[in-house]
Subunit: 347 residues, 2 copies
DNA sequence: CGAACCCAGCTAATCGATTAGTTGAGTTTT
DNA sequence: AAAACTCAACTAATCGATTAGCTGGGTTCG
């Protein structure tokens, strides 16, 4: 690799002049500028970011740490983040904490070592202590994405999970369903907890309760959702409608429904929250609440770049996006289903 | 951020000793080692990669440049690559060339600037000229993934696309289908071209031909596949079976089939190639050829790390993985379908 | 005409690590 | 006991860029 010295020698100028030309940081006469540029081309010179970053103290790197890279939801976040980050002149590093707090801790240490300019973090566990890991110095600019944690001084970008759970549930209730079931996410993360809370609130406000035997955690995983959905639906007097707290789990639930020989929405109505690619291919089309994922990601990157530029967090900003209900045909009015509560088990 | 000098001062030793302790690169007495380690802890010191990399001339960064980050297939590659790369002690940068050769060129320039230790590249366009962009110096260690390009000195990891097309087609032919159609990928990339060639070869060897009006390109995109599938299936005398060259396109095709009121496999049999998350939720279950994606990714990373270690490419290695046929229930024997070629248009 | 100024371009310090080369106290050899 | 070794630990050069500060020729102005 050619260095700035090689270029300077080839162009017959000093390294300072080369640097000035490359960065447009000072006036250089047209002649020298031309000589430098042609030398750059001849040697196919590209400045070393390692050296530049060492001097400037930044890296043009932004890290995205997601909780589960196998989840298509986060794959879309990766896609959106790559584009957003590139638009601001940064490059994107990807890490997968795999829902393990200990791994998250190690990743954040590495992020610091790599001197990333900022982190977009989907936190796992319930502490962000690792974020202010620098007793004297300033912490790395951080935006928490999707989930929140207890005590916090960081910017956050989240959705209104309670509203998502409520909207989906109210839609089912409006169709006349009263015996509802749900496949939740992990209840120790806000996305799991909030959606269930929204559902409970919606039912409570109509004087209904959610029976605990109709509540199962699918852990935000397709396979887990499949098996808990099976066991949930094989109960005698199964619910007439199901709220599934994530798109990935909805795939598993639909699979379980098909494997049990149940028809959707004929035998069971299903509503879910969040969209993943591929869900559009499902028939029936799922009724679901969607998040403005691209907007959320753009906003997270914008907040992060803003923090980086001003060199430290201002007072924390919490941006909450609202989900919207997208009606498909996976839900039917309860009158169209068996009217009398059937005490028979599924097949 | 504390520097190595701060640590040296705090521990009352030289920076060389601190470095020796951190890297285990020379013997240090137990006492000094303890002093250094405690200073490291006190100051929460993390060595600056920028400085280390500048000196060592490497970055511990591997770039993954994919052709379409919105495609769930590549999302899975990202997932597998992150894990593989981390296991070797590297971190993963993600870039999306979005099938644009010009963007790919810019990305590779940036990869060079970032002094990435290596690149896993899903090439778009048909030249790798940009890879030996350094007239004098050595090119960045590179592994081409999934696709190949004409002239090449790089390692490659690919699948046998011809075999994938042939296996899927032969399965359909064995069921008695003779009027086949296909939704192809872009024919200028090897994954698109090869799968079609495999299909053509399979038909030719049974004395059949693929009518050109039954061939459509879905560009490896879900929406494009949806619309070309619609127009293909709305023709009079539509094919009785379809080979769809990618998982993402298969979702679009299934959607088109459903929207046209056709039953699969009743009215039309469908086989495809490659798996994406979410495809498992489809009913009927798709008959398809699958790639050992995780193995492929691991192999690509292994080859790349090997290149990095030996400091330059040995003679290029081309690893080809074989697809395997996974039988679902999206295909039916032709006798079960309308026996006489129906000259009626769909619906 | 000389002082004051301007400014293109240069010299050299600097960022934070690694590491070749040096030092000097302690040990072994003869 | 001097010479020859060992070896823990240190000093200082180095990686490739940026940039503060300097230089010296050319203008402007009193």
């Amino acid at each position: 690799m050619a260095t700035i010295k090689d270029v300077a020698r080839a162009a017959g100028v000093s390294t300072a002049t080369v640097s000035a030309v490359i960065n447009d940081s000072a006036y250089v006469s047209a002649e020298l500028r031309a000589r430098v540029l042609s030398a750059v081309r001849d040697l196919n010179y590209a400045p070393s970011l390692a050296a530049r970053n060492l001097k400037r103290g930044r890296s043009q790197l932004i890290a995205l740490v997601v909780a589960d890279l196998a989840n298509p939801f986060f794959s879309r976040v990766v896609w959106a983040a790559e584009a957003a980050v590139a638009a601001w002149g940064y490059s994107l590093l990807i890490f997968n904490s795999d829902e393990k707090p200990e791994l998250e801790r190690r990743i954040l240490a590495r992020v610091r070592t790599l001197s990333c300019d900022g982190v977009i973090l989907v936190p796992v566990g319930d502490s962000t202590e690792h974020l202010q890991n620098d007793p004297d110095g300033k912490p790395i600019p951080t935006v928490l994405f999707g989930r929140t944690v207890a005590d916090d001084r960081s910017d956050t970008v989240t959705i209104d999970n309670i509203s998502a759970g409520r909207q989906a549930t109210e839609y089912l209730l409006d169709l006349g369903h009263t015996r509802l079931g749900t496949i939740t996410g992990p209840l120790h993360v806000t996305t799991g907890r909030g959606r269930l809370d929204g559902m409970l609130a919606a039912m409570r406000s109509r004087g209904l309760t959610l029976e605990s035997r109709y509540i199962r955690s699918g852990e935000f995983r397709e396979d887990a959702a499949y098996s808990v959905a099976r066991s949930l639906l094989e109960q005698p007097a199964r619910p007439t409608a199901l709220y599934v707290a994530s798109g990935l789990m909805a795939l598993g639930v639909m699979r379980a429904v098909a494997d049990l020989g149940l028809r959707c929405p004929g035998d069971i109505s299903i509503a879910s929250t969040d969209t993943i690619p591929g869900i559009g291919g499902l028939r029936p089309r799922l009724t679901r609440t969607e998040h403005p994922l691209v907007d959320m990601t753009n906003e997270a990157v914008r907040l992060l770049v803003d923090q980086i530029r001003r060199g430290g967090p201002a007072e924390p900003r919490n941006v909450v996006f609202q989900p919207s209900l997208v009606v498909g045909d996976s839900c039917a009015p309860v009158v169209a289903q068996s009217v009398a509560p059937p005490p028979t088990s599924a097949r």
